[in-house]
Symmetry: C2
Subunit: 364 residues, 2 copies
């Protein structure tokens, strides 16, 4: 707790250590932004975005939900990273509710995206890969013919049916959630978030002394987890690691993918931590790119799992099952391609900071 850090001027900052949680926003020493004020300012901004999303919902549901999810994710993330500044019981309860909401609202767009991804992949897999002019010269050639293409069409129809059903169910669940008293309780918490943050004594310290070290810890956790990934193997193209799991028990794919998914979450925490005023972001634009790459990693992994689930549908034709097998392997290769891209990106990123000392090297 008492880290012995000093302000840029070299004097020990004025602060209360080890005291009981203080439920009011503490007044800053003259001219200094306190950590509590910086944090509550950010939370207010995000709560406002949340409420704006709520107001939009009757007109533009998709856009509104994206706003709701974005701000809920950010609030939950900064409450996690800056946990020493808020009362633990309160913060954990709120994070739990925010997690419920983001996962409930997130399912419908996930199913939509997954279906689009898989239909696009099937289209790509059924495409010739040779110029049309060459195909036109060959009798009986062209795309879309043969039993394989028939299997692809049937697989597409099966996936469309299953994922549309899943999407419809997710939509109903989201509607039900938004109409629930649980949701209304969460919306009320958002409306009063800025004024009701139960801060700890440490929140009265100047923001520059408190926030950067906590953000650095979040970045350090990201670095530790990323460095523990099998980056050496992933940096070799066509290493076949991600497809190893294609025909194993489903569990094995989950176990293999989990550390990568974990890094995706830590990456998000590190990025959101740096959005709080007074915290310099680590890394550079590659961190944003790395987040996108790991997003693709998750989408491909979950799409592969959806294909495996579809293949367990009783009484499907062998041609359909065959096409689903090709598609499953294709998505596992997309998983591997994302790992390859991440490993290249990550190995170009600045090294992890030592301890909780903030690194130089913000953007630009």
């Amino acid at each position: 707790m008492a880290s012995g850090k000093t302000t840029p001027g070299g004097e020990p900052p004025a602060r209360t250590t080890g005291g009981p949680p203080d439920t009011a926003v503490l007044a800053p020493p003259a001219g200094t932004l306190t950590a509590g004020r910086a944090l509550t300012g950010y939370l207010r901004e995000q709560a406002t975005a949340f409420l704006r999303g709520l107001g939009l919902r009757s007109e533009r549901e998709g856009q509104a939900d994206a706003l709701l999810r974005g701000s809920a994710r950010r609030i939950a993330a900064v409450l996690h990273t800056y946990a020493p500044l808020t009362e633990p019981g309160w913060a954990e309860a709120l994070r739990g509710e925010l997690g419920w909401l983001t996962s409930t609202l997130g399912r419908e767009p996930q199913h939509t995206g997954r279906l689009a991804r898989l239909l696009e992949a099937l289209r790509r897999l059924s495409t010739a890969g040779v110029p049309e002019s060459v195909l036109a010269e060959v009798e009986g050639g062209g795309t879309g013919s043969g039993p394989l293409a028939l299997g692809a069409a049937r697989a597409a129809a099966l996936l469309e049916r299953q994922l549309t059903l899943a999407r419809t169910r997710a939509h109903s669940a989201a509607l039900q959630a938004v109409g629930s008293s649980r949701f209304h309780g969460l919306a009320d918490s958002m409306a009063v978030l800025a004024s009701e943050v139960p801060l700890t004594g440490r929140a009265a310290d100047p923001a520059p002394a408190v926030l950067p070290p906590l953000a650095a810890q979040a970045y350090q956790r990201l670095c530790d987890a990323a460095d523990a990934l099998p980056l050496g193997r992933a940096a070799l193209p066509y290493n076949a690691e991600a497809v190893q799991a294609s025909l194993g028990a489903e569990l094995t794919a989950d176990l293999q993918d989990a550390p990568w998914h974990q890094v995706r979450i830590l990456l998000r925490l590190a990025r959101y931590a740096a959005e709080v005023p007074g915290v310099e972001p680590y890394g550079d634009d590659r961190l944003v790119e790395a987040a996108q790459v790991l997003g693709r990693h998750r989408e491909a992994a979950e799409s592969a799992a959806a294909v495996a689930a579809a293949a367990r549908t009783p009484r499907i034709a062998p041609a359909t099952a065959y096409a689903l097998g090709v598609l499953h392997a294709d998505q596992r290769h997309e998983v591997e391609a994302a790992r390859f891209a991440f490993s290249r990106l990550w190995q170009g990123l600045p090294p992890a900071p030592e301890g909780d000392r903030p690194l130089p090297g913000p953007r630009g």
Copy 2:
């Protein structure tokens, strides 16, 4: 024909141009190896290897057939590259017989290799890809469980049955071929090969003036064909080109693969051309490596086709078809990985020579 080439000393070489083919080995001008003598020396060496293979056949069939095929391929290749030195009708007939033999004897080892490759791939695809220690901690985990693993086992059994049958048939066909009068005729040709090569007038020219330009043409044909490949796309890992064909008509895979197979053949011609005494090899060890890579390309492409054929077996279970689909896509990814490796290798090779001028740059 009359190329205007001069010997290193600058004087026009003594030679006969445009005359009728000469069926005797021409005597060399004092102290100079003629092209005909260099070529027939190489052919004699290869014919001896062929006859040694023939003698071995009763004891060690596999080893003997590899010798027979290796020398038959080399003789056919140099007759092609150095075609202006021999009477066309004779050379083409002999090359036809040699081609018949190499393809007849090559089928059995191909089926053996294909089965081993596919069983190994199925094993890899069913393997966890997570440490055993992690799996051991998870209840019900581990490899080999679940419907996917069952499908993999059935797919392995199906491929084993089909490819073993194909291998047995190929073995019978090879036995029959070796016992045929057609084969005895070919063996007789081998026994008298060195003394009965019907050379053209150009074969009387000094070897250094005739052979290197013809070898350079072979290398040039290789370079032209390799440079026409989609190397830019192949050099990007996970470009998904080779898997595009996975669910298309079978023809489209063949059309996409054909230019790569063609380069594999041209590479072999260029390498064998350089085995004739007095010809400096082009490129370096990467040429050998490139040949291996394109060998893997062909094996993976043909293995994928064998998997697709197995998937057309009537009344297979959906789980089997699914595993075959995964395996097919995996082999098409191996095709892509080989293209990636080739494109990297090739782009590091020396540039193509201009015209038929021999390039400097032998090994070492």
